[in-house]
């Protein structure tokens, strides 16, 4: 396995929709503890909308598919998740405009652009207890593995491991961004819902491409 096809991307999005539907209550419960109990509901609503829109762009290039995903999320998720995941997928799409297949390096650029989109929009730093805590280490692990000569599936596997670690590492943190920040010290001891959905999305990517 050394290329990512358009079919992979479509399949990935479909898998994400399914995984988020399955984890709707779990994500919402995480958000209830330190937020406002809607993250799972929001993400599920968003990817339901993505599924509706996907049919119209299935045959288009990967850039169009991902930008369409971003627009669908932007206009249906709302909350913090909407602009953040909207930016993530739109920037991801803009990084691969016109392409129908991606090399591992191109996927790396896509991922980097995606994460940068989230950071530009939300201004969160590592350790602020947000989705950035899962996304940024994940992209870095992916890039590093490729640089060190690892293959696509090794890179994706390490990416997911880093995302999982980043997600779990949010537990002791005191939130600095997002709703959880209003809780101050009380936000510590809970896993961040956004970091959790980010982990699930990256995990679905690895599983789609590499099984």
């Amino acid at each position: 396995m050394s290329t990512i096809t358009r079919e992979h991307i479509v399949q990935w999005l479909e898998n994400v929709a399914q995984v988020l539907a399955e984890n709707k209550e779990y994500l919402t419960e995480l958000d209830a503890a330190i937020g406002d109990a809607d993250h799972g509901i929001n993400m599920d609503r968003g990817f339901t909308k993505v599924m509706e829109r996907l049919d119209g762009v299935r045959d288009k290039d990967i850039g169009t598919i991902l930008r369409t995903t971003g627009m669908a999320l932007l206009s249906s998720v709302g909350g913090a998740g909407g602009p953040l995941y909207g930016s993530l997928f739109m920037k991801a799409g803009m990084a691969v405009t016109g392409k129908h297949e991606l090399t591992p390096e191109e996927l790396g650029k896509l991922l980097r652009a995606a994460v940068q989109g989230v950071i530009d929009r939300g201004k969160a730093q590592l350790g602020d207890k947000t989705m950035v805590d899962a996304l940024l280490p994940a992209v870095e692990a992916y890039e590093k593995t490729l640089q060190e000569g690892g293959d696509l599936c090794t890179a994706l596997t390490r990416m997911v491991a880093a995302a999982e670690k980043g997600m779990k590492d949010t537990i002791p943190l005191v939130a600095k961004k997002g709703r959880a920040s209003y809780l101050g010290e009380r936000s510590a001891g809970h896993q961040d819902p956004g970091a959790t959905s980010s982990y699930l999305i990256l995990k679905a990517l690895k599983e789609t491409v590499c099984g």
Binding site: S75, V77, G79, P83, R179
Partner: protein
């Protein structure tokens, strides 16, 4: 879940349909994307628009009408609306005077309104986004995203709405007034009970029979502290003193700069209350607390303000910014000057706030 709902997913839409049927003389509702708009928009007037998650009714939709908001964008319950809602609402009610967005300081609201601000300005409709961040329960602003927007939002919508309607303010002057209201308003709230988001089906947190949450926001989220239940007087004192004794508060805000055609960031500082100040006091039900209890709170608030040298010159007592059926109370104090008071007293005609017409 003890609620008057049909399918939870339909809750916001059905509420909007009810509002449209009830107040069709004054407001209209657009469903795709969702916004409530004023039916007759005076030419040249700045369009004042707000929005946010649903579940805070009557805010914001109940404040659309004459002398307050021109449009409101309701998201799903406790979820900020999406940029296309604000963008379409802006295009709908823009009447040549530009658009002022009143944005409560939550990451979701801020980001979605920022995107809509960019879109409208790109479309040639001058748009400024002004923040409300008045919740003294949140202390730190340096490394966090700062204070939430709560009770002052209602007062700002009334005051700024009047200045746009009756004062014929242009967009920049209106934004100046909005900013002035924000730095002079402070709030703090508490909850006796949690609330239930219809689609979630169960309460967002649990609270023992002898407990209360102090320093809540308006999204059914837990507060800053959980404490043993106290008397109305003790609770009122706790909230009022936190507000009155709050020190200067500085944060960086990000607003669209019409002249530069891009974003600018600048610092704003809330001046603390001083003896001799005149204030508007709001005692607000979080949704499930009846007005009788609000008057018990107001009685004590009045006493505390007197003791602290503050004169309450106007008051608003009722459920104006809520968290679904949550029981609890929020206190807001807004220091007024002649301009603010004049605009407060102007006529207003909306489904939820009405006087002078």
């Amino acid at each position: 879940m003890k609620k008057l709902v049909n399918r939870p997913e339909d809750f916001v839409r059905e509420m909007l349909e009810g509002m449209e049927k009830a107040h069709g003389d004054l407001i209209g509702v657009n469903y795709e994307p969702r916004y409530i708009y004023r039916k007759e928009m005076p030419q040249g007037k700045v369009a004042v628009i707000s929005g946010g998650g649903s579940g805070h009714e009557p805010m914001h939709g109940g404040f659309v009408g004459i002398g307050m908001l021109d449009a409101a964008c309701p998201g799903e319950v406790f979820t900020s609306p999406t940029p296309d809602q604000m963008y379409e609402a802006g295009k709908k009610v823009h009447a040549g005077g530009g658009v002022l967005f009143i944005v409560k300081n939550y990451s979701g609201d801020v980001m979605n309104f920022e995107m809509a601000t960019e879109m409208l300005n790109m479309e040639g409709i001058p748009t400024i986004n002004v923040l409300v961040d008045d919740d003294v329960a949140v202390k730190d602003s340096l490394y966090t995203q700062g204070r939430r927007g709560t009770g002052t939002t209602v007062l700002m919508e009334k005051i700024v709405g009047a200045a746009a309607e009756w004062g014929k303010y242009d967009l920049k002057r209106l934004a100046d007034l909005a900013r002035k209201v924000n730095v002079n308003g402070r709030s703090m709230g508490m909850a006796l009970t949690p609330c239930t988001v219809p689609t979630a089906g169960k309460p967002t947190f649990e609270l023992g029979e002898d407990e209360m949450e102090i320093g809540i926001g308006i999204h059914g989220e837990p507060g800053r502290y959980r404490e043993p239940l106290a008397t109305a007087d003790e609770i009122t004192e706790r909230l009022a003193l936190a507000i009155i004794e709050d020190g200067p508060y500085t944060r960086t805000v990000k607003e669209w700069d019409l002249d530069a055609g891009g974003w600018k960031e600048f610092e704003l500082t809330d001046p603390p209350f001083q003896p001799g100040d005149h204030v508007i006091a709001m005692v607000n039900s979080m949704g499930g607390t009846p007005v009788s209890e609000l008057y018990v709170v107001y009685r004590k608030l009045h006493e505390i303000c007197e003791k602290k040298g503050l004169t309450i010159v106007r008051n608003l007592i009722g459920a104006y910014i809520t968290s679904l059926e949550m029981q609890g109370v929020m206190i807001t104090l807004l220091k007024v000057d002649d301009e603010i008071l004049e605009m407060w007293d102007k006529p207003v005609k909306t489904p939820a706030l009405r006087w002078g017409m």
